[in-house]
């Protein structure tokens, strides 16, 4: 083969390779609707089934755990809800620097003593004037026993009060405190623990924690000379042998005098005060989980009306996705280790506590994860109320112990897997 022939051959090969590769990348279509007439296929029909898939359901109360709610509900709502709040200031500032000098003096007299309570304006309720009373609830007795602390809200322990209209409050409330009583604690290096309550019907939502610390503060001028800038004391407490989270939790906490009634048999409760959470465990047929594609999954809960407090307010029910294996059997522990539903793309659903009827909760994204979960992970879902511990609304549903037709059900629409590659 001559040189010219070889050159021609190489050129030809190059042209050929280029043509093939360019052709391979050339693909286009413009089209409309010739299908399905010309695209016969083995179409499998969607199947729809509604069934009682719950194998275990339960309601657990006393949520949120102490210290885990950033707000604190202070309510006086006759016949339904009555709560009180306790704020601990165990480390009062007892010295100051006169005239901003380098020497410090002990505080012997104070002026303008205030308890400042940050408020969440969305939680206030009441158009009539109410009085917030602040009491000295320090005790040497069992100060973590709520009954003991609750008994200290006595007139002889009154530190101060303020009257206001809840609906007209701003983003904080200042409660004047007795300078005499507070300075006595300063001079004695004693603890200041303040319990607050509303003496007449109304409701406030106090911001209890911000940025990992207690939000309420006590302020006072370190001298009767009012030219001094007020000192600010944040919440703090000391509990022997307690962990940091326990210590933080007791800096600001609530006491419930009257709250939700215990759920009757056959009822699942979400919300209330203290709040309840409900847990449901499902068992899906293997024909759905193993050999089908789930295209719709809805949890059908039959709601019965609640008359507890905000029965006509719309509230959100928040899904929780349990993540533990069956090695964990304690339901409270399972709920503590649950993930927010948003991580599994299960959204919140809004409901009115006073309504009744079948409520539909879309659990499609969660149900589609079930087939791929290890068998040791129970297919489950739990619910909590939004603003848990800061709003008193509750939702009530019939449980699996209720009469047939009222029990929780799953409505699943699925497409059985088929071998459709054969024409």
């Amino acid at each position: 083969m001559s040189r010219s022939h070889r050159r021609a051959l190489r050129t030809l090969l190059l042209v050929m390779a280029t043509a093939v590769s360019v052709g391979a990348c050339t693909e286009s279509f413009e089209g409309g609707g010739a299908c399905p007439a010309l695209c016969p296929s083995q179409a499998e029909a969607f199947r729809d089934t509604t069934f009682e898939a719950v194998v275990l359901d339960s309601t657990l109360g006393d949520y949120p755990s102490l210290g885990l709610s950033s707000t604190l509900l202070l309510a006086n709502r006759p016949d339904t809800l009555a709560t009180r709040g306790v704020f601990r200031f165990d480390a009062l500032v007892s010295v100051f620097a006169p005239n901003r000098g380098i020497t410090v003096d002990s505080i012997t007299a104070i002026d303008s003593v205030w308890l400042r309570l940050p408020l969440d304006p969305t939680g206030r309720r009441g158009g009539a004037r109410v009085t917030l009373e602040a009491f000295d609830v320090d005790t040497t007795q069992s100060d973590s026993v709520r009954a003991v602390v609750g008994s200290l809200f006595r007139p002889d322990r009154l530190l101060g009060s303020v009257s206001f209209i809840p609906d007209s409050t701003g983003d904080s409330l200042r409660v004047p405190l007795s300078a005499t009583k507070v300075v006595a604690k300063i001079r004695a290096s004693a603890r200041l623990r303040i319990g607050v309550r509303l003496s007449s019907p109304g409701q406030l939502r106090i911001v209890a924690f911000q940025l990992g610390a207690g939000a309420p503060i006590v302020q006072y001028d370190p001298s009767t000379d009012t030219t001094y800038a007020p000192l600010t004391v944040s919440t703090s407490t000391v509990i022997a042998n307690a962990t940091t989270d326990i210590t933080l939790a007791y800096q600001a906490y609530g006491i419930v005098d009257r709250g939700s009634t215990v759920p009757e048999r056959g009822t699942l409760v979400v919300g209330g005060f203290p709040a309840y959470r409900s847990y449901l465990r499902f068992n899906l047929p293997t024909r759905i989980t193993d050999s089908s594609t789930i295209v719709r999954a809805e949890l059908l809960l039959t709601q019965h009306p609640s008359r507890f407090t905000n029965a006509r307010d719309t509230v959100a029910i928040v899904p929780l996705v349990p993540t533990t294996t069956d090695a964990v059997s304690d339901l409270r522990r399972i709920l503590d280790l649950s993930a927010e539903g948003t991580f599994a793309r299960v959204d919140t659903t809004r409901m009115v506590p006073g309504d009744s009827g079948v409520r539909t909760i879309n659990v499609l994204a969660l149900a589609r994860t079930w087939p791929s979960l290890p068998i040791s992970v129970p297919r489950a879902l739990a619910f909590r109320i939004s603003l848990e511990g800061a709003q008193p609304a509750e939702l009530r549903f019939f449980s699996s112990e209720a009469p047939a037709g009222l029990r929780p059900r799953l409505r699943i629409t699925y497409l059985p897997r088929a071998e459709f590659a054969l024409p």
Partner: protein, 382 residues
């Protein structure tokens, strides 16, 4: 030089065997059933609408055509198709790419040659996008379906041809039919909050064998008759190594007449009968297949000389039955073809180009499909 040529051919084969994007279509009448019978003709044969298939050494139809080949031949070709479907006032266009034939012919002496080839037997690659409704829990829900089909059944053939004497050539070949279909289906709902997307796929593989015999005899001055017969054995579909359906590779009988008594010219007519109905049991209940009778006529004449070699000009006509239809409706195809053959590097290589215009109709239906099939093939004789 041989090493360089081998390297070059390797590069070419690389491009040739790289998986190519398949057609995107919105419906098709040529890809029904198990797909389109590509025909596996060389570009030269395609230039004559298939009329030369019975005696072209690079076309794996008649193994006798290998007899007497004296030089090693490597052939590869590409065949893009530009297709327009008209149905119910809707016109849809798409482009697809094929590499339908790889061929290696090795002379073994004494008039015997061995041929190894890989061809597309049936090509089923397309995508469809449809909008429809499904009834769920008594409610009509709008859906959008995307079906993506990628598949083909290939014909791997090992053949031997023997030129017994100047008047007779014989051949025998064994065929291995293998391939797979992968179908992916995605169904999305207009209400994507309530309904999740369905993404499903299915894969089926095929395996079958066949044996073919062929012969060619000179029956007069410049006139020769050829015939070949492929006897299909079992052909089964398998899903995860389990035989799902079983049928047979279609029997094929082809015959043709060639006249090359005029210097520089070749004329041929041929017919082909393919027993596609033997594949009926391979598909689902909705699948139908029909036997096909195909008729072809074509010619090749010497044209003007280019760089000292004569340019070959080809033309042909064919009327083909396509094997797969819809509910007993058959698809018929006519083809007009033209092509050129360009010797390059003297006898060391040649380039063939072809163009075919195919018109396909669904008998008894309103769907029509027109396609331009372009062919570019190269033969290297190192």
């Amino acid at each position: 030089m041989i090493r360089r040529t081998t390297r070059a051919m390797g590069a070419l084969l690389f491009f040739a065997v790289v998986p190519l994007p398949a057609a995107s279509a919105q419906g098709t009448i040529s890809m029904l059933g198990f797909g389109y019978p590509v025909g596996s003709g060389s570009t030269r044969v395609n230039g004559t609408a298939g009329a030369f298939a019975e005696f072209d050494a690079l076309t794996p139809s008649n193994p006798a055509s290998l007899g007497g080949v004296m030089r090693t031949v490597i052939g590869v070709q590409a065949e893009p198709e530009l297709r327009t479907l008209t149905f119910g006032g809707v016109s849809e266009r798409n482009t697809l790419q094929r590499v339908p034939l790889l061929m290696l012919v090795l002379p073994a002496g004494r008039g015997v040659a061995i041929g190894l080839s890989g061809t597309s037997f049936l090509d089923r690659s397309y995508s469809t996008i449809t909008t429809g409704n499904v009834l769920i829990d008594g409610n009509t829900v709008t859906t959008n379906d995307v079906t993506d089909v990628r598949g083909a059944i290939g014909d791997l053939r090992a053949a031997a041809g023997w030129r017994v004497n100047t008047r007779l050539r014989l051949g025998v070949a064994g065929h291995l039919f293998t391939g797979e279909h992968i179908v992916a289906r995605e169904r999305t709902f207009a209400d994507s909050l309530q309904f999740g997307t369905v993404l499903d796929s299915s894969r089926v593989t095929f395996f079958g064998t066949a044996l073919s015999l062929g012969g060619e005899v000179a029956i007069g001055k410049g006139l020769a008759a050829m015939a070949s017969f492929r006897k299909g054995n079992g052909l089964d579909s398998r899903i995860r190594d389990t035989v799902r359906t079983a049928a047979n590779v279609p029997d094929r009988f082809g015959a043709g007449l060639r006249y090359d008594g005029i210097a520089g010219s070749v004329f041929a007519v041929s017919m082909e009968q393919v027993g596609w109905s033997k594949m009926s049991g391979l598909g689902s209940d909705q699948f139908t297949s029909n036997d096909a009778m195909n008729y072809r006529a074509g010619a090749e004449v010497s044209g003007p000389r280019l760089r000292g070699s004569a340019l070959l000009i080809r033309a042909g006509f064919a009327r083909n039955d396509l094997p797969f239809g819809i509910v007993m409706q058959r698809v018929r195809e006519t083809r007009l073809s033209a092509g050129i053959g360009l010797p390059i590097a003297r006898d060391d290589a040649s380039l063939d180009l072809s163009i075919q215009r195919a018109n396909r109709t669904l008998v008894g239906g309103t769907a029509k499909e027109a396609a331009w099939l372009l062919g570019i093939g190269i033969q290297v004789r190192p």
